[in-house]
Amino acid sequence: MSGIAIQTRGLTKHYGSVEALVDLDLDIHAGEVFGFLGPNGAGKTTTIRTLMDEIRATRGTASILGKDTHKDSVAIRRDLGYLPGDLAMYPNLTGKDTITYFANLRSGVDWEFVDALAERLTADLSRKVGDLSSGNRQKVGLIQAFMNKPEVIIMDEPSAGLDPLVQRELQKMMREVAGEGRTVFLSSHTLSEVQRVADRVGIIRHGKLIALETVQALRAKAMRQVELELDTPADASVFEAVDGVRDVRAQNNHVLMTFGGDMGALLKAAEGRYSIVDLSTHAADLEEIFLTYYEDEEVAG
């Protein structure tokens, strides 16, 4: 983790009166895989397109490898691989032609490496891109993003259309990139994907970053499911009063809740009224965490 690969400060993009992105502050470290999570329309693609200088921020700044994404965009792109979301390519070119075209714009490419990538992703580069299924087209897009061994790879929904085996291979490729000290920034709305591959996660919604955590911290701090069995019928309000408790469901002597606070406080509250017959807890998975953050935002917003 030496240095910052991607940095944004107060990055904001308005489309007319629509605030697509609001005051985004991000520091992506070199050598990490960063997962950018959010539902459709949250601002993930807007962020990525701003980083790529396809669109211009209303205010705020962004830099990649220490260079301004607008002023030095050409210099940045020498060391950058990019896979746009909802990928479109030149339908009349074959995969190989497409790769050659981009390679020529970058003064060359290591064909052995391209072939190795194609083999790993089971991509067919001899067919016209227009005749490929969307998953197979995506593979060509991935190859061109990885082929120059860039310092930073930015990918918008990279696993779209890929079958599980290829998805797994792609995750391996991302880990390898990070292992070499290079950086991957990917957006996704699939938590399981990010959970498997990312070091850190940013969660964005309505254009605002609502959480920025390591995957571990997210899990650790972590919401868990707590189930208590009590000696008498449970009163939900007793538990709802405790910090970090949400979503309480009381049924007879059982009470089930999602909990993300200090376990001692919860037990104290319970022991004041009841005697605990049994207690079980299990870690919530990211899906639940994800929803939790959203609810938070909804309550706050």
């Binding site: 790529m52 211009r56 990019y82 390519m89 030149y90 009349n92 981009f102 020529n104 714009l105 016209k128």
Partner: protein, 552 residues
Amino acid sequence: MLASVLLKTTRDRWRGWTIAMVTLAAMGLLVMATYQNIDLEIFASMPEAYLSLLGLQGDMDVGALSIAVVMGSYGAMVIAAMAFTMGAASIAGEERAGTLGLLLGNPKSRRHVLISKALSLVLFTTVSVAALAGATLLSAALLGVSTGDMRVGALGVHLFANSLFYGFLALFVGAWTGNRGAALGVSIGVMVVSFFAVGLLPLVEGGEGWVRIFPWHYFDGSAPLYNGIAWGDIGVLLGASALLAGGAVIGLERRDLKGQSTGVTILDRIRRNPTADKLIGRLAGAARVSSIWLKTASEYQTMLLVAAAYVFLIQGFVLGPFYSLMPEETLAMGDQLPAEMLALFGGGDLSTAEGYYQIETFGMMAPIVVMVVTIAIGAGAVAGEESRRTMGLLLANPVSRSRVLAEKTITMVLFGALVGLATFGGVALGSVAGGLGMDIADIAATCALLILVGLLFGALALAIGAGTGRTRVAMWVAIGAAVFMHVLNALGEVNENLAGFQQLSPFHYYLGNDPLNNGMDWSSAALLAAVTAILIGVSFPLFRRRDIRQRD
């Protein structure tokens, strides 16, 4: 279903439609204003062939003449073209875009979709005809031109039935083949062939009866502007349309839908032979991907080859010997042609080889061919990559926006110049082959001006595409501007009141100084080049400053 199809169609087409309608209305107004001020006697002395082709009669007054020209020929073709474009887009277009499957994912049958599309075509055509007729009558009222006993409504009904026929023809071909290109090609072919056949066949002995097999005959064969609606002819056109619609339903229901794909073209089939593949690869430049401008060049190379071959052979080389073989009487007949009428074709004096080439080639056809190439490349340069959503990927490489634009501009300039060069080669060779003794330097000067005027409108398309990212807007504004400027210049020739406005038209600086006889007009060339350079120049900041469009 009908409502949503209509809404979608309206959203897709209103821009092109508006531009076409405004251009037609402006043309009508200009034509009327012009004819008001010239002596119409000359039409009486015009050769029958020209009158017949334009659907005119010798003894027309201003109103009749303008309505016949604007509604009867230009308008009829434009509205028919809009109808067959829509017809071809209806089924085949959606198949090509890969959206037909999506549409049919709704609980609607293919038949239902097709009928909705057909009805939407009928409605659009009705509105277009009504708008054109309205605009024509309004122009007449504004200018105080009497429309007397003209049956504008009857002409409108004929125009409607005629346009509908071409729309359904395209729909039919598209429904059977799923091939939009085929649908467009067949419709254009039938329209052009039948337009000329109906105009020219009556002049040939025994040809009179043959016109009945050509659809255009049922549009204006009965001269509806004078004689009112010929219900029999309308019946033929509507009956044929109904048959085509029925046939389209059958065709669409029995075949497999095509997916979104590049399709297997005849070229692809030929290319399965490795030798042929190599040869074609070199000719068509299939995979020329070593740089942006070369890739752009390879995308338009087929178009360039066709355009260059056409101007070289048909518009250039063949005409020379042909002119030398033309009998005296024909040339004498040309003498009687009013310069006013010829102005639309660029003017020229048929009694000299220079004048002949000006009418046949330089006045209208050569600029059209050059502009087809320059406007296509100009409009597609930036906006095309954005419409196809490939710009993001292209710009992910270490190339600046300016470089992308510059390289594409290079292709446009190069290809425009090559078409001009082909014209030069063809005309120069034609002159030699026909022993016409035209001045080679003058031909070269004219071709240089031709290239410049073509590039000017290409640069306009480029600038609009760079500023908006919308291919269709760029293309149609440039085409609309070119047509308008051409008509403005032509009418300035014949109408003194409009002569002042000629200087606004780039075409004035192209042939205004008669370069085929007088040689190079450097100040005109400099002016055309300067405007082109300015348009290209502003493209850069326009493109650099804005957001790349993500979707169409």
